[in-house]
Amino acid sequence: MLSCRSWIPGPPGGEEIHRAGRKVLRYVLSVCAIIAINFALPRLMPGDPVMNLIGEDAMVTPAQLAEIRAKIGLDRPVTVQFVSCLGDLLCGDLGYSFHLHGPVAGILWSRMSWTLLFAGTAIVLGALIGIIAGALSGWKPETRRSRAVTCAAMAVSCTPPYFLAMLFLAFFAFRLGLFPAKGYYDVLTAGSVVHHLLLPVAVLTLFAASRNLLVMRGSVVQEKNSHYALYARAKGLFGRQILFRHLLRNASLPVITLVALDFGFIFSGALFIEIVFSLNGMGTLIYDAILARDYPLLQGAFLVIALLVVTANIIADLLYGALDPRVREGGV
């Protein structure tokens, strides 16, 4: 009689729950830290906290100022203020922008969908292109083409995204006149939107793809020498079949981690590109807010972006776990 343990994977054991719990705790702590920073900043920064809370450019009469000061209630104990701030957040109230005369949440919401469309497309495309190009480059790393691509990727990833955007804009839009120079659309049709977004998405995709390519390339170069790659060859796989059937999934794992960690960086890059292309998204909103020192808006934007980043990290964690059974088993 064969002696074997029960091989059927059962319900999550104690250790698995422990590990998942730690991850969730980490994310919860991050969100708490972000909210805490948001709360503390205007109160800790130099200058009149009330001015910090309503923005430098707010045009209010002294009477209105006194009213606001009383409403914000800076003389209440800190904990009470924090709880009230938390309460506002949960109701979706991110404050009021005196500079733009509107609630911060509403302003952000209307601009954010465009930025997400733009940045989201670029991140996904950048991941796909970076993975494929990096895999091909890492498969034959010594060829001239592979080395040229690697150098190009390095150069692109060292360029500030806004500079890249300016180059593209100057060449393709001004000089060649192929693309419009500003705005998300002339008429709200899909065609017009694509036409306007093509260049900005191309720039951001290039930037994200170059970073992913470098990581993927290194990962493939490492995985190429693994035992299972050799065994795949021993089964009869030939040339690039080994790459695509076996190496791709394993080597993409670090790239997924990178995309998650990079999300904040790439999203920030998107903001700069929006400024260059005069797109009416969060980038120009923030730029404006900086010039006017509209602190409520800046804080609201920070909060929203930070929460987006946390979400992206969570999604990446889930994706990684779906792809790599070792993580689920806790054996890595």
Binding site: R26, L41, N52, P160, Y162, F265, I286, A306, V309
Partner: protein, 274 residues
């Protein structure tokens, strides 16, 4: 082997390039044709008197370019130094003492890791009206996580080696063990991370200057690009104004990153510019 030769020649090229920028930063008055406050006619195209033309205020662009090296390199290296210092402290402590302290420090690191840097820097910079010092502090205080992680994992390794074990058994104080035994053995992983942190800091500084959040008294490369963009140089296709500083940023970051990559090539780890 061909790969090693290619690596060596890239390394030498990168070092030469970096040396050029360091010279620009160290002795700008010797190289630049004009001083930082000399002005002539604004918006000039490149000509015999001003090789790269002039800005909207009449400053010579080439001189601005040369003087701008100081800020980028200063902010880059200084903030990387600070980040490395913090990362070393956190990583060494976590890796050496392990246990609860390690858990807490790593949880702290993880939390800081997720917080998006550039938006936070933008907010801080907007509040604080930065000068160079603030910039260095802020950038340095937000980029130490990956260094801390690497230091910690290496410390965990080195901690178990023979000579460290014997030092611990002999009862030497932990600080001394860390300084004399562990640190020399982790320098080779910290060095490439330092270079990459410098590269990242330079890009961040360039980005912040572009937004107008840099030091207003010193015209860094990012600020030059920003001026070109906002003061009509870009619309008028005055490529001699924004192209050189942009290219300088790229080349400087590239040279630092290439050196960092070259250091790390022996480790066999995957590399990236943060």
């Amino acid at each position: 082997m061909r790969a090693m030769d290619a690596l060596k020649s890239t390394n030498r090229g990168a070092m030469a390039l970096l040396a050029v920028f360091l010279c620009m930063a160290a002795f700008p008055s010797l190289i630049a044709p004009y001083g930082p406050s000399e002005r002539s006619m604004p918006y000039q195209a490149p000509g015999p008197e001003h090789i790269l033309g002039t800005t909207n205020m009449g400053n010579d662009i080439l001189s601005e370019l040369i003087y701008g090296a100081r800020i980028s390199l200063l902010v880059g290296f200084a903030s990387a130094l600070m980040a490395t210092g913090i990362g070393l402290a956190v990583g060494l402590t976590a890796g050496y003492f392990r246990g609860a302290l390690d858990e807490v420090l790593m949880a702290f690191t993880d939390v800081v890791l997720i917080i998006p840097k550039i938006p936070l820097i933008i907010i801080l910079a907007a509040f604080l009206r930065p000068g160079v010092g603030i910039l260095i502090l802020v950038l340095g205080a937000l980029s130490w996580e990956s260094i801390a992680r690497v230091v910690r994992s290496k410390t965990l390794q080195v901690r178990e080696t023979g000579f460290v074990m014997s030092a611990r058994c002999m009862g030497f104080p932990p600080l001394r063990i860390m300084a004399s035994d562990i640190v020399p053995n982790i320098v080779h992983v910290v060095l490439p991370k330092f270079m990459l942190a410098t590269a990242a800091a330079m890009i961040s500084e360039a980005s912040l200057s572009f937004l107008g959040l840099g030091d207003p008294s010193m015209e860094s490369w990012g600020a030059m690009v920003s001026s070109a963009f906002t003061k009509g140089g870009f619309i008028r296709e005055m490529w001699w104004w924004y192209l050189p500083p942009g290219i300088c940023i790229t080349l400087c970051v590239l040279s630092v990153a290439a050196i960092g990559f070259a250091f790390e090539a022996g480790e066999g780890t995957t590399v990236r510019v943060e």
